[in-house]
């Protein structure tokens, strides 16, 4: 590979790469605002100016103050070039830290802050703002301008998800490019110029495509804020865990930002993965986190309709075992979940095998539209994993389950998860059966028709993996602790098996995972 030198360090590059890209790949950040690895080059922020020290120097005329003469005299200074647009070439010597470049960085930074409002205390970006970071690193001087800053519109509603503040905006155009290049919808553009510059909506439009939150995600400052996250949390209190989006079968990688003081998740952010989601996520995926603390089932319940009441954890397991024992194994339906991890499904499939139940079904969500950007047609994160866990047994649908229940072929049900495309009314026939056990993190149609519902941990609370629609297993780690007395589903299933007098042959996740393919193990 050809090489060039950046700040004394040799960097190899693929022909066609820019200096910025090659450095970025090596983990070096040349300061920048408008450049984003997933977007086209705009080269308008001028923060990434570097000096090509080798080769013929381009000189730029300037006036410098001469102390002796007491006046300005014409002279020259080296012409700097934006690293984001400068094609890497063999053996060039680039500096991003020499005095010329430092002066340029400080000046650009000072210029960007010239009319910036004093908003840090009320700005959601504070704490992860590039203006703050680069001020500290590259400027570190106090204000010289004494006049009133230019005022522009604040709190402009761009759409149902995004609010725009023109005063904070540095006109990097990242949001425009995200709409153009990722969402393929030219809904944002820029008007005026100089200090009247402003991002505007296309006439008659709202920012309402499926990737609007990406505009906020790429905004290097606090100009675009998300309606959902706005004023909810301060980022320095948040910690971040690694997750996988449960929104659809694409399995976008996420940063799960949560406040450890309250055990509450505040937002998801895309985690870069070139093979899956690159740098992006869709709005629906970004909002899946809200599911976590809405409609949770926190106590086991028993009984149906008005007679439903909470029971103790142990009592619930005993009750479930008792009800399942009463059902003949050949008439026991086991419902796997396309919303649960491969591990949870595997544990349930093992329970089915141990009991000798061979009627396996799959519950999955529906009512979703895919696209050819990121969204898969299937809005269940783990249909492939659940199918794998079933180990070759054909999984029938919930419709089949209802038919089987009505025909008498099914007299008892163990169901994993709350999620099903079917509504409560459709599942109503199951209420005729006495032994319907639901293992679920949330309330929903299945738990509603169950005679015993036992809570299990939600996706942010467990160790596990999903298999996405490209058959890639992706593991994630627990971010929060589950509610008191609530275990991951695989553990609860193992305990239930114990009550039924069966040993499923695993004690922990590691021994459970031995039943999975090597690929899943490799993903751990």
């Amino acid at each position: 590979m050809p090489k060039f030198t950046l700040d004394g360090r040799e960097i190899s590059f693929d022909p066609g790469e820019t200096v910025m890209e090659a450095a970025w790949r090596e983990g070096i950040e040349i300061p920048h605002y408008c450049w984003h690895p997933g977007l086209s080059v705009a080269a308008n922020c001028r923060m990434c100016l570097v000096h090509v020290e080798s080769g013929r120097q381009m000189e730029m005329p300037q006036l410098a103050f001469d102390e002796k003469k007491g006046e300005y005299v014409p002279t020259t200074k080296p012409k700097l070039q934006p690293a984001c647009q400068l094609a890497a070439a063999e053996d060039i010597v680039v500096s991003s830290t020499n005095d010329e470049v430092k002066t340029a960085q400080a000046s650009v930074q000072e210029f960007l802050l010239l009319n910036h409002p004093v908003d840090c205390p009320i700005c959601d970006q504070a704490g992860e703002c590039k203006l703050q970071d680069y001020y500290y690193e590259h400027q570190a001087t106090l204000k010289r301008k004494l006049t009133e800053p230019v005022h522009k519109p604040k709190g402009v509603r761009f759409g149902p998800t995004i609010i725009y503040d023109a005063e904070r905006c540095i006109m990097c155009t990242r949001c425009i490019r995200v709409c153009d290049e990722v969402a393929k919808d030219h809904v944002l553009d820029m008007r005026e110029r100089g200090n009247k510059n402003e991002i505007v909506l296309a006439p008659g439009r709202e920012l309402d495509h499926r990737y609007t939150l990406m505009t906020e995600h790429v905004c290097p400052v606090g100009a675009l804020t998300s309606q959902d996250f706005r004023f909810k949390a301060r980022v320095w209190f948040l910690k971040s865990g690694q997750g996988v989006c449960t929104g659809c079968a694409t399995g976008c990688n996420t940063h799960v930002d949560y406040d450890p003081r309250y055990g509450k998740v505040y937002r998801l952010r895309p985690r870069d993965n070139a093979d899956v989601n690159k740098y992006w996520m869709c709005d629906d995926g970004m909002m899946t986190y809200t599911r976590h603390d809405t409609d949770r089932l926190l106590m086991p319940t028993t009984g149906r309709g008005d007679e439903r009441m909470p029971v103790g954890e142990d009592e619930a397991l005993d009750l479930a075992a008792e009800k399942l024992k009463a059902v003949d194994a050949s008439k026991l339906a086991v419902v796997l979940s396309a919303q649960h991890t491969t591990e949870d499904n595997l544990a349930l499939a093992k329970l089915a095998a141990a009991l000798g139940a061979d009627q396996l079904y799959l519950a999955a969500l529906g009512g979703w539209e895919g696209d050819d950007i990121l969204r898969s047609d299937d809005n269940n994160p783990n249909r492939a994993g659940a199918t794998q866990a079933a180990g070759g047994v054909t999984l029938k649908s919930v419709d089949d389950l209802l038919a089987d229940a009505q025909s008498g072929a099914v007299q008892g049900v163990v169901a994993l998860g709350w999620a099903s495309a079917e509504q409560l009314e459709e599942l109503a026939p199951l209420t005729a059966l006495d032994g319907v056990v639901s293992l679920t993190s949330h309330v929903g149609a299945f738990p509603a028709v169950a005679s015993v519902a036992i809570p299990v941990a939600d996706i942010f609370e467990i160790d596990g993996s999903f298999v996405n629609d490209k058959s890639m297993p992706q593991a994630f780690r627990p971010v929060l602790a589950p509610p008191t007395g609530v275990d991951p589903a695989w553990k609860t299933i193992s305990a239930l098996a114990g009550k039924l007098g069966k040993d499923l042959g695993f004690q922990d996740l590691q021994s459970l995972r031995q039943g999975l393919s090597d690929a899943v193990e490799a993903a751990q």
């Binding site: 000072e110 802050l113 910036h116 409002p117 004093v118 908003d119 840090c120 205390p121 504070a126 704490g127 203006l131 703050q132 001020y135 500290y136 400027q139 570190a140 001087t141 106090l142 204000k143 320095w236």
Partner: protein, 320 residues
């Protein structure tokens, strides 16, 4: 105050910066005032513990005068948190130099009165002389510093041997003892008060009346509050300093100063972030207290009182 400045100097060494000259003098004067207060308190308490209550009150009034000045300067009499990395929390008040100048003759007077009250008192002499002896060798092997070490004849004073700030510009002596007993420790402290006054007298004359107190770098020193409230640059600087801390270069330093009781050292390891990776304090009293075993062994139980008093142990420095 000596601790405040000692810590600031350690971080400043890591940052490779030096505070403005005016601030260095200011720090020296406030530090020496603190030393005077310390030594008067220790010596006064030594006398009180031997039954002489009047000298205690007599000496402590100087501490109050010193504290009056410190209160005017810093806002607190005792627990002043006034040192800042890169400077001080506030510039000297307009009356600072006059206040200190007025104090100096009073200090001399009280030192003289102390000598008259105690140095020919038979009981005091008997309880102090030849009691609690620490030899030079023992002092060295225990790592003892400060007045306790100097009383054994070791002329080690960080201000003289490794001058920091502007101490190399002052003409002052390092008093030493011979026997390392309670008496020598008492006398060394008494003489050090005179030497501190000498330093203050010179510093007051040399200290510029104008000029900055803090280094001119918003990455190190908080900008003025009115700028923080009105300009974005100062807001960001303030935010970064509060939320992420002052970032220092990667590396480690050991920085040491002459505290009231000896060498006060700070060892800092930095990983380049806003919080230290490791900080280790070398407090003088930790070593001085360890050596008190040698002073007490073979003596009388009653001698623990004056001996322990003359070690001038500061509890916080031994809590580790």
């Amino acid at each position: 105050m000596l601790n405040n400045v000692g810590w600031s100097l350690a971080v400043e060494k890591l940052l490779q910066i030096e505070v403005p000259e005016r601030c260095q003098y200011y720090r020296v004067i406030l530090g020496e005032l603190s030393r005077i207060a310390d030594h008067f308190t220790c010596n006064g308490a030594s006398a009180m513990e031997l039954g002489a209550f009047t000298p205690f009150l007599w000496l402590l009034k100087v501490r109050d005068w010193v504290w009056d000045i410190l209160e005017r300067e810093t806002g607190a009499r005792m627990t002043h948190s006034f040192g800042r990395i890169g400077g001080m929390a506030a510039p000297p008040t307009a009356s600072f130099k006059d206040d200190v100048r007025q104090l100096i003759p009073e200090v001399h007077k009280v030192v003289k009165e102390t000598e008259i009250m105690l140095l020919r008192n038979r009981i005091f002499l008997d309880r102090m002389q030849g009691v609690g002896v620490l030899t030079k060798e023992q002092a060295l092997s225990y790592g003892v510093t400060g007045p306790v070490a100097r009383s054994t004849g070791i002329p080690y004073d960080v201000r003289k041997d490794h001058p920091y700030m502007v101490y190399d510009r002052f003409d002052f002596d390092v008093p030493i003892g011979e026997d390392g007993d309670n008496w020598d420790r008492f006398m060394v402290r008494l003489e050090e008060i005179r030497q501190s006054v000498r330093i203050i007298e010179q510093a007051i004359e040399q200290m510029p009346d104008d000029g900055p107190i803090n280094v001119d770098d918003p990455r190190i020193v908080y900008p003025d509050k009115d700028e923080v409230y009105t300009t974005i640059e100062a807001t960001i600087a303030h935010f970064k300093l509060v939320m992420e801390g002052l970032r220092t270069p990667k590396g480690e330093v050991y920085s040491f100063t002459e505290g009231g009781n000896g060498e006060l050292g700070f060892h800092i390891v930095s990983d380049g972030s806003g919080t230290p990776y490791r900080v280790r304090v070398r407090p003088p009293c930790w070593y001085n207290l360890a050596a008190s075993r040698e002073m007490l062994l073979g003596g009388m139980i009653a001698d623990i009182i004056p001996t322990f008093g003359s070690v001038n142990m500061i509890g916080g420095e031994c809590d580790r």
